[in-house]
């Protein structure tokens, strides 16, 4: 774009030169994204917020006509008194408090191993670690269900012959069996994020470290880990959001195990409520979204403050 071009244009349109004008082109480029985004993402959220402020009243007897009546925050009051919702949230928080650190430490260790100078067959291992994530969630849960099954699993029957009788789907263990599946699925994914961050560390730092006499261990702990902390924070935030939305594995396991209630995780509580009480399900969803936002944003803010950045 030249001065000459602008002055020709301003002459043609009669506008005073120097005033920036937003043309049609950027809007046209954005529309293919914006239209579906607004229609299928923003609008449903607005609709859910709208429904969460209503409740059903009925006139004309038992099977009379139903009306949507504005109810203010009364649905949210019910949400806070909902014992099932509370226990499902506690359950996923306990789940996350154990599973997320285990998974991230494993991902970090694997990434460091892959990145170290001693690693061989890097590409093969990278693909192997990532493969579980590529398997569709329901299929993975189904296969793990068979692996955990007391009378169908070859692994369980081998353990039985050795004298162990683990009840992976019992009420004591089923939550941690699910945690195992989630860890198996996402460790490779998180490892890749951390590994990419490791690759971005400039080589000069390593040379300087070597000059200062740092060995492999010191390099890992004093150089690599501090430099990938932002990536670790990112994976932690993703994991927190994912944990609060835990759904696939419990639902699939509920078809084979007798130990999973219909309100096992918050998302299942919402699904349950949506069968008959759409407004209440909307209020639950909004509450869940706000809680997820607060938790993940809070965590981000906390780590940013600690990092001093």
């Amino acid at each position: 774009m030249t001065v000459q071009g602008l002055s020709v244009e301003s002459a043609a349109t009669g506008r005073s030169s120097g005033k920036p004008r937003v043309g049609l082109a950027p809007v046209m480029f954005l529309l293919p994204f914006l239209i579906p985004f607004v229609l299928f993402y923003v609008l449903p959220i607005v609709y859910a917020l709208w429904r969460s402020l209503h409740k059903i009243t009925r006139t004309g007897g038992l099977f009379g006509a139903a009306h949507e009546q504005f109810a203010g925050l009364s649905q949210f009051r019910t949400v806070f008194h909902d014992a099932d919702f509370r226990s499902s949230v506690v359950r996923v928080l306990v789940f996350g408090a154990v599973q997320i650190p285990v998974m991230l430490v494993t991902a970090l260790v694997l990434a460091l191993l892959l990145d170290s100078t001693l690693a061989r067959f890097r590409r093969t291992f990278r693909i192997a670690f990532f493969l579980p994530y590529a398997i569709p969630g329901v299929i993975a849960a189904l296969i793990w269900g068979f692996i955990y099954s007391p009378n169908l699993s070859p692994i369980v029957s081998a353990l039985n012959k050795m004298g162990f009788h683990p009840q992976f789907l019992s009420s004591q263990l089923v939550l941690w069996s699910i945690a195992n599946v989630v860890t198996w699925t996402y460790t490779g994914y998180n490892m890749l994020i951390i590994y990419s961050a490791l690759q971005a560390i400039p080589q000069e730092i390593y040379e300087a470290a070597k000059l200062d006499g740092a060995g492999n261990w010191a390099t890992a702990t004093r150089i690599k880990i501090p430099n990938v902390l932002p990536a670790i924070v990112l994976t932690a935030v993703f994991s927190i959001i994912g944990t609060l939305q835990l759904f696939t594995e419990p639902i699939v396991f509920s078809k084979i195990a007798t130990t999973i209630t219909s309100t096992y995780t918050p998302n299942m509580v919402v699904l349950n409520a949506s069968q008959n009480n759409y407004d209440y399900a909307a209020a639950l969803s909004v509450t869940l979204a706000i809680a997820t936002f607060v938790l993940s944003f809070g965590f981000l803010k906390l780590t940013q403050r600690r990092a001093g950045s």
Binding site: Q4, P20, F63, H67, E68, I256, T258, N276
Partner: protein, 469 residues
């Protein structure tokens, strides 16, 4: 500076706002305003102008001319049955939509379709879900449609009570099939242990103890956590009344209820003594393996269950037999019912008279019933259907026993007055969750029904329904 300055965030914000505004305007113009809209019900809302309290039956006249109907069903082979109708009725052509089972998403689809105005003319709806669709004003009252009043006598009485809600104020579906319950058992294993088919629940319990003592791996039966309507079938046999619907509201009597308590304490006893398997889920591969291996040797189930065992436990062919359901009182012949569907005409249908005519044919015509039984495994609700030639024969898988004779007498013993609640999914969910605790020893079946009572009442109140005492 000669460049056109494009403010990126500006563009996004302006475009998003424009699209949002346009969409909101479009949405709000199609829905009626404010809080008195009859279109804003919990899921249905396809009210046909008039306030439709209880489904006032407007005159149901044939439309004349050629009519095209759509019918959604999950019964296998239904398209072949409908092909017979289409050939014989060129002026009423029916198109079959094969859909997933009701509770696997089809009921949700019906609800959404009713709201969007795109529901089919006819749909398969199980008896326990009919009140829920009536609640959404989703069912057409076909009482005044030609042929419906006469059709009543063609059906087993208790099935008709399911579709006319105990003779309240209309007919909302045509019964299709039923699931009278009986006892499937491994005759060979019972014979081996010197046991006869138990006729009372006490005998069943002592048989359970003998069977488990003889082989600790073996259980007389299992307790399904995911089939609460199996358990309500047991309540049904015991004579329990869980719901009582009147014009004004619903009375919920799940707990306390002496008949329910009787069933609860019986099964709690079996659970406490570890005489039944508590870690097998209904219709699961683990269960089928247990059947095949002989680790589970009986199943209290409905007529349609005969194909479940046949298709999933092939190793045990010829070894099962069917006996009437054990009784609480020796000599009585009460039976419960598990499942069974109806063919309903949706309230948005433009041709209810033709739809009702088709529904009646589908569920009373002998040729249709034979095909539905053969291809779909359905046990007919029509009285003539119980005498179909194909149902009089011995079934090879069951040692050539004519098993449907047992189900015919069972059907005669099903209580006509049993009612379902308007929000059964919530009741079932509460029962299922309580059963999780009972099976893992953290609660009892009594706690499960108590919780089902509380949650059902709360669920009905959330629907704006009066819960009467």
């Amino acid at each position: 500076m000669g460049r056109m300055r494009i403010s990126g965030p500006h563009v996004v914000a302006v475009s998003s706002a424009a699209i949002l505004a346009l969409s909101l305007a479009a949405c709000s113009s199609s829905s009626s305003s404010g809080g008195t809209s009859t279109g804003g019900s919990s899921g249905g809302g396809s009210s046909t102008g008039a306030s439709a309290a209880g489904g006032s039956s407007s005159a149901c006249q044939p439309s004349g001319g050629t009519v095209n109907l759509t019918f959604s069903t999950w019964v296998p082979g239904m398209d072949k049955v409908v092909a017979v109708w289409n050939k014989q009725n060129p002026d009423i052509q029916v198109k079959v939509n094969e859909v997933a089972a009701g509770n696997s998403g089809t009921y949700q689809n019906f609800t959404n379709a009713l709201k969007a105005g795109t529901a089919p003319d006819l749909g398969q709806i199980e008896y326990d879900t009919l009140p829920n669709f009536r609640l959404q004003n989703g069912l057409k009252n076909i009482a005044s449609c030609p042929g419906v009043a006469d059709a009543k006598s063609a059906f087993v009485p208790w099935t008709w009570s399911q579709v006319d809600f105990n003779s309240s104020d209309g007919v909302y579906a045509i019964p299709q099939d039923s699931g009278p319950m009986a006892l499937f058992y491994r005759k060979d294993i019972f014979d081996q242990l010197g046991l006869k088919a138990p006729t009372t629940w006490d005998e069943y319990a002592s048989d359970a103890a003998k069977i488990h003592a003889a082989d600790p791996q073996r259980y007389i039966t299992f307790f399904s956590q995911s089939d609460p309507n199996w358990y309500t079938g047991l309540f049904w046999q015991a004579g329990a009344q869980l719901f009582n619907e009147t014009a004004n509201g619903v009375k919920v009597t799940i707990s306390p209820n002496s008949d329910v308590d009787k069933v609860n304490s019986y099964w709690q006893g079996l659970i406490d003594k570890h005489l039944i398997a508590t870690n097998l889920q209904g219709f699961s591969t683990e269960l089928y393996k247990a059947w095949n291996d002989g680790d589970v040797v009986s199943w209290i189930s409905a007529a349609w269950g005969y194909s479940t065992i046949r298709d999933n436990a092939p190793a045990t062919s010829g070894k099962w037999a069917v006996a009437p359901m054990p009784q609480f009182t020796a000599g009585s012949s009460a039976a419960g019912n598990w499942g069974g569907s109806s063919t309903a005409v949706f309230s948005s249908s433009k041709h209810p008279a033709e739809a009702a005519k088709f529904a009646i044919w589908l569920n009373t015509n002998p040729q249709a019933l034979t095909l539905e039984n053969k291809l779909g495994g359905l046990y007919p609700a029509a009285t003539a259907g119980l005498d179909l030639p194909s149902l009089q024969q011995g079934v090879p898988f069951y040692g050539n026993q004519p098993i449907f004779d047992v189900f015919k007498s069972a059907s005669a013993g099903v209580n006509e007055n049993f009612e379902w609640g308007p929000t059964m999914t919530d009741t079932y969910a509460a029962l299922k969750d309580g059963i999780v605790n009972a099976l893992s020893g953290k609660g009892t079946l009594d706690d499960a029904t108590k919780s089902a009572q509380t949650k059902t009442v709360a669920s009905l109140k959330a629907q704006g329904i009066t819960v009467t005492q």
